[in-house]
């Protein structure tokens, strides 16, 4: 199907079952509303943006981005530094709120929330939309407290010990820290700290995990561990991964969005983006002609 409208189909991949509306070469249009296109509730997009623009003062860091991110897949956002990847990602769980002068226009839905709607409580949203930051930022407390704290402040009523173990196992960190759970997390290596941050985020059992260049401060071995982990995480979680590393996006993601100068240039299956992108700028970027 080589029209300017592309319907992608990854064989034996869940995205194939997602009803994708017509995709102009430049942008992915989401379903106008979830009931307009029949789809099982299970596979409905978990994040949809509609002409979303994000401003810092007068400067538009993200301009009219429209995309729909499907559940339980890894969606990578790539693009040169400063193109607005982090800004877009932080909008999904309202971590941009802490930047004075930040303004949002357009639509953004995340799970059941109109993210910037007046009725939305960012605190509630953030429990369901976790985040892992570029630099590992464990609390200067024990490993155990790092994982348990988020659950505790959110009124978790289950068994904390069990939750800590389960989260650390899911983050592939348990074996390395099980004997020093109550020692300071700052004594862990950078890669371990980052996996601890992932464990801490998934302890809240979020639906979505946002990761902003989670490997950029890590060595290659730690990076490949995190990449394996991301691959395992998509069983349960929707992962949105910002990376400036194209190989990483190609390795771990199912879908890739390419951004350039605040615009979402192309959003498609990772395969397509890296083998036959529709946009000239995407092609230039992935072949290394700029950036």
């Amino acid at each position: 199907m080589m029209t300017d409208v592309q319907e992608y189909d990854l064989s034996n991949d869940r995205s194939g079952t997602i009803a994708r509306p017509a995709i102009p070469a430049v942008q992915v249009r989401p379903a106008a509303s979830s009931d307009a296109v029949p789809q099982s509730a299970d596979d409905a997009p978990v994040i949809t943006t509609d002409a979303l623009s994000i401003y810092y003062g007068k400067f538009a860091a993200v301009q009219e981005a429209t995309m729909a991110i499907p559940p339980r897949q890894v969606t990578a956002i790539i693009g040169p530094s400063g193109c607005g990847k982090s800004t877009l990602l932080r909008a999904f769980n309202r971590m941009n709120d802490f930047i004075p002068g930040m303004r949002v226009t357009g639509g953004l839905r995340c799970l059941d929330w109109e993210v910037y709607g007046s009725k939305t409580d960012a605190v509630e949203l953030r429990r369901r939309v976790g985040m892992v930051f570029q630099k590992p930022n464990p609390f200067p407390k024990s490993t155990y407290k790092n994982v348990a704290w988020g659950a505790r402040v959110n009124g978790y009523r289950g068994d904390l010990d069990e939750l800590v173990e389960r989260s650390l196992r899911q983050a592939a960190l348990w074996d390395e820290v099980k004997d020093k759970l109550h020692a300071s997390s700052l004594a862990l290596s950078g890669g371990q700290q980052q996996r601890l941050c992932i464990a801490r985020a998934i302890a809240l059992q979020p639906d979505i995990l946002l990761m902003d260049e989670p490997c950029s401060a890590l060595d290659p071995i730690a990076t490949s561990k995190i990449e394996d982990l991301i691959d395992a995480l998509k069983e349960r979680y929707t992962v949105v991964l910002v990376t400036h590393n194209m190989q990483q996006a190609a390795r771990v993601s199912d879908l890739t969005a390419f951004m350039y100068m605040g615009r979402l240039i192309e959003f498609d299956a990772t395969n397509t983006i890296f083998t036959s992108p529709h946009n000239r700028q995407t092609q230039d970027y992935i072949t290394g002609r700029f950036g």
Binding site: N93, M95, F98, P100, V123, E124, L125, R126, R127, G130, M131, F133, K135, N137, P138, F139, P140, K141, S142, K145, W149, G150, V153, N154, H182, A183, S184, S185, L186, C197, R200, A201, L204, G288, R289, F290
Partner: protein, 317 residues
């Protein structure tokens, strides 16, 4: 704009052979006049000057301390600490009432100034919007920290002694001292709070914590050593202040200890001032002894501040 091979050859090291060596010497000779001797001489001169200034500063302090220590030596005894002052018998005079008065004063002052100071700092740093108004407030607090202490005495006299009818009580003194130390505490606490990295705050917010939880569980504990140091240093300033207490009319001769916040009182600096201003040399010796006690208290407080900080830093998990 593809990066061609040519871009890389520029950064590559010079090829082996004589040309690299020769060009290096040529450039050095032509472009630089090292004058190493002169530069080293200036460096030595600077270091020696700084050393002399250090010696001058510390030397004067040492002379002062030694003189006070020698004057105080014959008068320092256990009785000096536990006796009441006496205007007739210097050999039986002590600083008990001044010590207890100072303890009352500092106790009440910290009771008022610490919660208010920390609360104000948290509000200003964590809650208030950063706009021109909050900057103005900050600037004015910094200015208040520089206001001479006698001015606070005048304010205390008008407000607490007269207007609130607290009289010359410890309470009036402590309230006045609180005004004096509040700006210092607020500034120190604010600095400690703003030194807490934002990455910690963001990590906590991203876990679905409320602002209060973020502050209470992470920001405040991380800032606590700095806040405590600031508080102790501010209070040690209050311990040594005489002027505002004189202004609100603290008594100089008190032969009893306050039994409640509304009692009259004296304090160490006032007692020292009283003794120094008497003509008999015996009282000057008493004053020296009281100064030694005051210095010991101040040193202890400062050591406490340092100790607290390092203890806290060692105690991570």
């Amino acid at each position: 704009m593809s990066r061609s091979q040519a871009d890389w050859t520029l950064a590559a090291p010079a090829p082996p052979g004589g040309s690299y060596e020769r060009s290096r010497t040529d450039r050095t000779d032509a472009l630089f006049r090292p004058r190493l001797g002169l530069r080293r001489f200036i460096g030595t001169l600077f270091a020696v000057t700084c050393l002399l200034m250090t010696v001058a500063a510390i030397g004067m302090l040492v002379v002062l301390l030694v003189r006070v220590g020698l004057d105080a030596r014959p008068w320092l005894s256990r009785h000096f600490l536990t006796n009441f002052p006496s205007t007739l018998y210097p050999e039986r005079a002590g600083i008990w009432s001044a010590l207890v008065g100072t303890a009352w004063l500092i106790g009440l002052t910290s009771l008022f100034s610490v919660p208010i100071g920390i609360g104000a700092a948290i509000y200003l740093e964590e809650y208030a919007r950063k706009n021109w108004f909050s900057r103005l407030v900050h600037l004015n607090i910094a200015n208040l920290a520089g206001v001479p202490s006698i001015v606070y005495g005048i304010l205390g006299l008008a407000m607490f002694v007269r207007f609130c009818h607290l009289g010359r009580s410890v309470l009036a003194g402590a309230l006045t001292m609180s005004l004096l130390v509040l700006p210092v505490i607020i500034i120190a606490a604010r600095e400690a709070l703003s030194a807490v990295p934002d990455s910690i705050r963001h990590a906590a917010y991203a876990l679905g914590a409320t602002r209060w939880q973020v502050i209470w569980h992470h920001v405040l504990p991380a800032a606590l050593p700095g806040i405590c140091t600031g508080i102790i240093l501010a209070l040690s300033r209050a311990v040594g202040e005489a002027a505002p207490l004189m202004m609100i009319g603290a008594l100089t001769y008190v032969a009893f200890v306050p039994s409640g916040p509304l009692d009259t009182f004296t304090a160490l600096p006032i007692q020292i001032y009283d003794w120094v201003s008497r003509p008999q040399s015996d009282f000057h010796g008493l004053a020296a002894a009281a100064i030694v006690v005051l210095l010991a208290i101040l040193l202890t407080m400062n050591a406490l501040a340092i100790g607290l900080r390092s203890w806290y830093q060692g105690r991570q998990p």
